[in-house]
C-alpha cells in the first residue's frame, strides 16, 4: 500500500465528517486522491468496515449487514407484578374491558404503567373504545397471550366453579379468622385477650 493511499485511509478514518475529494486533497498537500479512494474502496469491500461515498463525500462506515452488532439486545427477565397479573387476569376473563372496569373489579386503582407493561409484553392490546359517555379505551388479550399461557382459546380459562373446586376461591380471611379463634381459645381466662380476639372477628 503506497503512502498516499495510507494517508487517505488515515485522514478519512480520523475525520470528524465525510470528506470530499477536494478537501482530502487539500489535507494531503494537493495530491490527487481519486486513485487512492478507488483502491481503498476495493480493499474494504466485503470487510467489517466499508468506504462509501454519499453526496460526493467519502467516509468509512460499518458494513450494513453488521449494523445489528452495534445494538446489542440484552434480555432482562422480570416477574410480572401482582397488580399487573391481576389486571391481566381481569382482561382475560372479562374482555373487552375499560380501565375503569378493571379498577371496579379489582377494587383498587390501577396505575397507568400497569397496562403499559401488559401491552409491552405483547399480551394486551387496545380493542377500540366503548360507545358510552367519555368513550373509554377498552382492552383485550392478544394471540400472543394465548400462546404464552398455553391456551387454545379464552374458553380454556377455568370457570368460576373450577376455581372454587381448586380451592382458589376459599377466602383467605376464613383461614385467618379460624386461626384467630384458636388463639382466643388458647388464651381463654384472660379477659383482655378474649375480647381482643372477638373484636378481630367482628372487624373481619
Amino acid at each position: 500500500m503506497d503512502d498516499l493511499t495510507r494517508a487517505v485511509e488515515a485522514a478519512l478514518f480520523a475525520a470528524d465528517a465525510p470528506l470530499s475529494p477536494e478537501e482530502l486533497s487539500r489535507h494531503l498537500n494537493g495530491a490527487a486522491v481519486d486513485e487512492a479512494l478507488a483502491q481503498l474502496t476495493a480493499h474494504y469491500a466485503g470487510r467489517g468496515i466499508e468506504l462509501v461515498m454519499r453526496g460526493g463525500r467519502w467516509h468509512f462506515q460499518t458494513a450494513p449487514d453488521l449494523a445489528h452488532l452495534l445494538r446489542r439486545e440484552k434480555e432482562d427477565v422480570r416477574r410480572l407484578s401482582r397488580a399487573a397479573t391481576e389486571a391481566l387476569a381481569i382482561i382475560a376473563y372479562h374482555e373487552p374491558v375499560s380501565r375503569a372496569e378493571i379498577e371496579a373489579i379489582r377494587g383498587v386503582q390501577t396505575a397507568r404503567g400497569t397496562l403499559d407493561v401488559l401491552m409491552e409484553a405483547g399480551w394486551v392490546r387496545v380493542a377500540g373504545r366503548r360507545e358510552v359517555p367519555g368513550r373509554p379505551t377498552i382492552y383485550a388479550t392478544t394471540p400472543a397471550f394465548l400462546a404464552h399461557f398455553g391456551l387454545e382459546s379464552r374458553r380454556d380459562l377455568p370457570g368460576i366453579d373450577e376455581l372454587r373446586a381448586a380451592g382458589l376461591l376459599d377466602p383467605v380471611e376464613d383461614v385467618f379468622a379460624s386461626l384467630m379463634e384458636d388463639e382466643a381459645e388458647a388464651e381463654a381466662g384472660d379477659a383482655l385477650a378474649g375480647s381482643g380476639g372477638e373484636e378481630r372477628d367482628e372487624i373481619l
Binding site: 478514518f13 475525520a15 470528524d16 387476569a89 409491552e120 409484553a121 381466662g189
Partner: protein, 271 residues
Amino acid sequence: MPPVSAALILPEADPAWEAPPATQRKDEALHLELEGWEGPLDLLLDLARRQKVDLRTISILDLVDQYLGFIEQAQTLRLELAADYLVMAAWLAYLKSLLLLPRDPEQQPSPEELALKLQLRLQRLGAMREAGARLMARDRLGRDVFARLSPEGLRTDRHVTWQCDLFGLIEAYGQIKVRTAPVVHMVRERPVMTLEAAIARIAVMLGAAVEWTDLASFLPPRGTSLAQDPRLARSALASSFVAALELAKQGRAEIAQEACFGPLLLRKARG
C-alpha cells in the same frame, strides 16, 4: 536535552567537571530558564545537567559552589528568590563547610553521607525528568495518532421479558373474586348484662345501701355462674357503671370516687 541514555548507562568514570561555562552563557541561561525552575533540587539538577556530566560522577562540592554562585548572582541581579532556594543555599553552605573542614568523627551523619543522599536524590529526579520527557515525546493519541472522532458507539438495548404462568394468572383472578365478593357480617350471640338489667339490679340493691358502697359489690358475686364467664363479668361491670351513672342522673343515687382509679362508691340519694 542530553541523550536519553545519559543517566541510564554507566559511563566511563569521569573524574571531574568540565570547565565551568562562560559567564555570558550563564547569564543567558539564568534569564531564560529561571521561570522553569521550581525549587532547590530542580535548580541543582539543572546546574548538573548543564555540565553534561553523569550525576553519579559529579562532585557535590563543585555543585554546591555553582548553586551558591547562582544564588549570589541572582541576588545581585535583584531577582526574587523563593524561600526554598535560600533554605537550600544555607543548607548547601553548611554541607560545603563540613566537607572542607577537618573531620569530626562524632558528626552524624557525616558530610559524605549527606552529599551522597543529595546525589542519590538528584539522580532519581533526573531519571524521572528524562522519563517524563520521553513520555511526552511519544506518539500521543489526539496529537500524533488519532482515533475516530465521532464513532457510532456500541449500544446495549435492554429488553424486558415479562414472566407469568397460567397458575399465577388464575390464582390472581381467584384472589380478586374472593377479595371483592360481598361480605356478610355475622355478629355472634354473646353473654351480656343489658343496661336495663343492670339498672334494675342496682336499683333494688341500692335500697339497702345507705352508706357508701363499692360498685364492685353490686356485681354478681364471684363463684356464681354469671361471674364465671369473664366476658360476662366485663359486660356486667360496664353495664353496672353506666347504670350507676344513669341512677345518679335520675337523682336516685350518689356517686363518689376518692382518688383517681380508686373504687367507685355508690349510695342511695338522700332526701
